[in-house]
């Protein structure tokens, strides 16, 4: 039963071409790894570059403190305060809606529900997160605007409140999932210890788990805030877009995001108004960057705490 010798010419050494090819692929991989920093920096640079004209002619300080936004008048007035306040009002309402409901729901999912309920809730939240913002806006137009108009007897239902309510709903998935992660990360031992002392589920949750997850929940709120400030389409459809200084949430407001979206279509490329819109974008970027950085540092600290 003699079989012919196998003539496998084993290439033990790596050919120079093969090594070169591997080096190239490795280089590409490294470049892609660094791309995130490059893109983020690029965003900041492009925004700043295009805002230079606005800073020069309209002045950053003047823009940030000015209360009159008449970009199309001659000469244009570029006071961003109405826009900033508009964003704040809408975001404030959004947080008032999403934080209590979101954190409470997260507590329910994490502490009081069984595995079947958990899965269902997670799927539902995934669904909510996947619905595009224009569709939320559409629902707001159809349902919330008439509702607000009737309940508060206004001339128009397009108010900061309307936008805030819908935005709050849109931010719920973010707040809930990150809070739930934070609660879930609290080690079982802590809960067990509390239960062994005779505490009920709620007492454990309230006295031990929630405080332990505190920073994570805080981060969830911040990220929800960031989401709300950055939302564009829904607020455009719901808040009325009056670029004036608001006094109550029942008025029409204009957000920073809405301004950029609404006016960019009509500006002269390279002109002052164009540059000011980029400046608004830069302010937005700075705000969300700070919020995200803070949230990330908080989350990182929480992760380090629970790492065994």
């Amino acid at each position: 039963m003699r079989t012919p010798p196998s003539d496998g010419a084993r290439r033990l050494g790596r050919t120079t071409t093969r090594r070169a090819a591997e080096a190239v692929v490795r280089a590409i991989i490294h470049v892609c790894g660094w791309l995130a920093i490059v893109i983020l920096a690029a965003i900041a640079i492009f925004l700043a570059w295009n805002s230079v004209r606005a800073f020069g002619e309209a002045g950053l300080g003047t823009m940030l403190s000015g209360t009159a936004w008449y970009p199309t008048s001659d000469p244009g007035k570029f006071g961003m305060l109405p826009l900033i306040l508009g964003s704040l009002f809408v975001t404030g309402v959004a947080l008032a809606v999403s934080v209590p409901v979101g954190v409470a729901a997260a507590v329910f999912i994490s502490e009081f529900s069984g595995p079947g309920v958990k899965d269902v809730m997670k799927s539902i939240i995934e669904f909510m997160a996947a619905v595009p913002s224009v569709v939320y806006g559409l629902i707001g137009v159809a349902v919330v605007i008439p509702l607000v108009k009737d309940v508060f007897a206004l001339n128009s239902g397009m108010t900061a409140l309307t936008g805030g309510i819908v935005l709050g709903v849109m931010s719920l998935p973010t707040v809930i999932s990150i809070s739930e992660d934070a609660l879930h990360a609290v080690p079982f031992d802590l809960r067990q210890g509390s239960a062994a002392l005779g505490n009920t589920r709620w007492q454990t949750t309230f006295k031990v788990t929630v405080p332990a997850a505190g920073s994570g929940i805080f981060a969830a709120v911040m990220l929800g805030l960031g989401r709300a400030i950055g939302e564009t389409m829904a607020v455009l459809m719901l808040t009325g877009n009056a670029a004036v200084m608001p006094t109550t949430v029942l008025e029409s407001v204009r957000t920073m995001t809405g301004t950029i979206a609404a006016e960019m279509g009509e500006v002269v490329q390279g002109g002052l108004h164009y540059s000011v819109l980029f400046a608004v974008g830069l302010v937005l970027f700075a705000i969300t960057f700070t919020i995200n950085l803070a949230a990330d540092l908080v989350l990182e600290r929480q992760r380090k705490r629970w790492r065994r």
Binding site: R2, P5, S6, G8, R10, L12, R14
Partner: protein, 294 residues
């Protein structure tokens, strides 16, 4: 150019370690003195290993003869696995590890610039403590090494797979189901699959790091039987904390010890297994073997 040979033994195909082809067109690492030592011989002198600033092994020198089983024994933490990993330079994959001293395989310095660690690992295989088959079919697991070496022809691969499975005493159990997913095998079978996988690259040496410690007694026995069969054709270096196992299957035994955490581990004694277990030179060896510590 010597090719891999198949030997007839009792009418069945048996595994044989093949020699290696050096393709002229290929940029192969030069071997300093390749013809001098018998294939599969390790020689260590003054080997030390440090993780960062922590020296874990110091001044190890030993000769590992070819075509035999050398056992590394010693209490937990004495550096046996670390030393083992030096032999196929797997320590390179862990960051911040520093290896000093000289280790030669068949006379060639394995840590020299001329030795490609990737190539070294084709000559020095490894079987791990827990079976770790790839999430692929049995066939693809075994063909992985040869395919990496550039072998593409189905006929060759088929042959290699069969050879390797026979060498690991697994062929009869799986020959009808080579396309089966490796995870469907039992623990003992998976470990023998890993041995077959290591055999497929026709290595000169196979390193085994406590290969049977995660297995039941029957599988352990099968592994030990396989090792006994293989040692005529492959050098085997096995780390084990099971002294009876070392006494059963090895030709020579090396005893390592780390006496305190402030001092690195070192080689206490090494010699013929029978002698080591009946009449060792060093009293510490005797203490360990008789179970007074470890």
């Amino acid at each position: 150019m010597v090719n891999a040979l198949l030997l007839e033994r009792d009418g069945t195909l048996a595994y044989t370690a093949g020699a290696v082809v050096a393709d002229d067109a290929v940029d192969v690492a030069t071997r300093e003195d390749a013809t001098a030592a018998v294939r599969g011989t390790f020689s260590l002198s003054g080997v030390s290993v440090a993780y960062g600033r922590d020296r874990v092994i110091e001044g190890v020198g030993m000769e590992i003869p070819a075509r035999s089983v050398t056992a590394l024994i010693g209490p937990s933490g004495c550096g046996k696995s670390t030393l083992l990993r030096c032999l196929n330079r797997m320590n390179d994959e862990i960051g911040n590890v520093h290896v000093d001293g000289r280790i030669t395989l068949d006379g060639a310095d394995i840590m020299g610039k001329a030795m490609d660690p990737v190539e070294l690992r084709m000559r020095v295989g490894q079987v791990f403590q827990r079976p770790n088959p790839f999430p692929m079919s049995i066939y693809d697991n075994i063909a992985y090494g040869p395919r990496t070496q550039g072998i593409r022809r189905k006929s060759e691969l088929d042959l290699l797979v069969e050879e390797s499975l026979r060498g690991a005493a697994l062929w009869d159990e799986v020959k009808k189901s080579l396309k089966k997913h490796a995870f469907e095998l039992s623990g003992g079978q998976q470990q023998r699959l890993c041995i077959a996988r290591a055999l497929a690259t026709k290595p000169e040496v196979i390193l085994m790091d406590e290969p049977a410690s995660a297995l039941d007694p029957i599988s352990t026995q099968q592994i030990e039987d396989t090792i006994a069969e293989l040692k005529d054709s492959v050098t085997i270096v096995i780390v084990t904390h099971n002294m009876q196992q070392a006494a059963r299957i090895s030709n020579q035994t090396a005893f390592m010890l780390r006496e305190s955490l402030e001092e690195p581990a070192h080689l206490v004694e090494m010699g013929d297994t029978k002698k080591m277990f009946t009449n060792p030179d060093d009293s510490r060896t005797e203490s360990y073997i008789t179970g007074r510590f470890g």
